[in-house]
Symmetry: C2
């Protein structure tokens, strides 16, 4: 039986990001069929001061990657900025999942009580692994992933919540 913190993190990121990779395939096919420049999707935002699509996807990936590193006490790998293309985002997801799924399940033992230090606006805050995961990592991950989906829907890509939920459907 893997540690609780493993169970609520690795399989969740794996399933959601794989679902999102399939969404990116549909969006790329849509752009090609409609002869739409993919950068029209990449750079769109729901509001001018929000992240553009590509950065929503990258941010979701980074919250997954960074939280797995923090929970398991390994150094956070630094990935270069994503290429702002559907293929670039798929590569980012693949690289993220390689790291997430490569985490040592045993390293999650006791992660709920591990002290995590976040630096925000130059101020350090400390919290438990559970508090960090539930109240920072996971909501941030879902926030960016859902907003990315919303941008594609807003632009007419024919996807639905079933795509967001992924396979197998539940």
């Amino acid at each position: 039986m893997p540690a609780a913190m493993y169970q609520i993190s690795v399989p969740v990121f794996d399933r959601r990001l794989k679902a999102h990779a399939a969404i990116l395939d549909k969006a790329a096919a849509h752009a090609e069929a409609k002869k739409i420049d993919p950068s029209a999707f990449m750079m769109d935002r729901l509001y001018p001061d929000m992240f553009p699509f590509w950065l929503q996807v990258q941010s979701a990936c980074d919250h997954a990657k960074n939280s797995i590193a923090r929970l398991t006490g390994v150094e956070m790998p630094i990935f270069d900025e994503t290429a702002k293309t559907f293929d670039g985002l798929k590569a980012r997801i693949a690289r993220t999942l390689e790291f997430v799924n490569g985490a040592n399940p045993a390293a999650f033992e006791g992660a709920e009580d591990r002290v995590i230090t976040l630096t925000q606006s130059g101020r350090e805050r400390q919290m438990t692994g559970m508090d960090y995961f539930q109240n920072s990592a996971l909501p941030n991950f879902y926030f960016h992933l859902t907003t990315a989906y919303g941008i594609l829907r807003h632009n007419g890509v024919e996807i639905g919540k079933r795509d967001f939920m992924g396979n197998p459907p539940v």
Copy 2:
């Protein structure tokens, strides 16, 4: 120490829905200050075949309510449709949180292995409580909550991710 399934559900719904209630206050104040008919927010959608704002909020609440009922093995309470006003949505959140926070922590013992039956499109599917919570309830909850936030942002309400994350910030 409360059961694992309690820890990853009740406090999460509580925190996120309270944050969303505060967002509704800001949106209502924005509508009033700008003399915007609140129904312009209530009925907006990111795309014509997506849920309108009010139903995104109601859906988030219902996924929280229904999952707590399923995980604890009690009957799902049926709430009437929400009044499509900021106050109506706040009342829905309050009623949802009353149910969520009123759940018996002891009833979550073993909930990860409880068999949950979902009926979708007339077809029954069975899964464990953990599978249901992680792959259906929680992504659905975040999906609707984030989309509701996105609709408000798209309409110019001055909120930010800090509001989505809630207090205390992490």
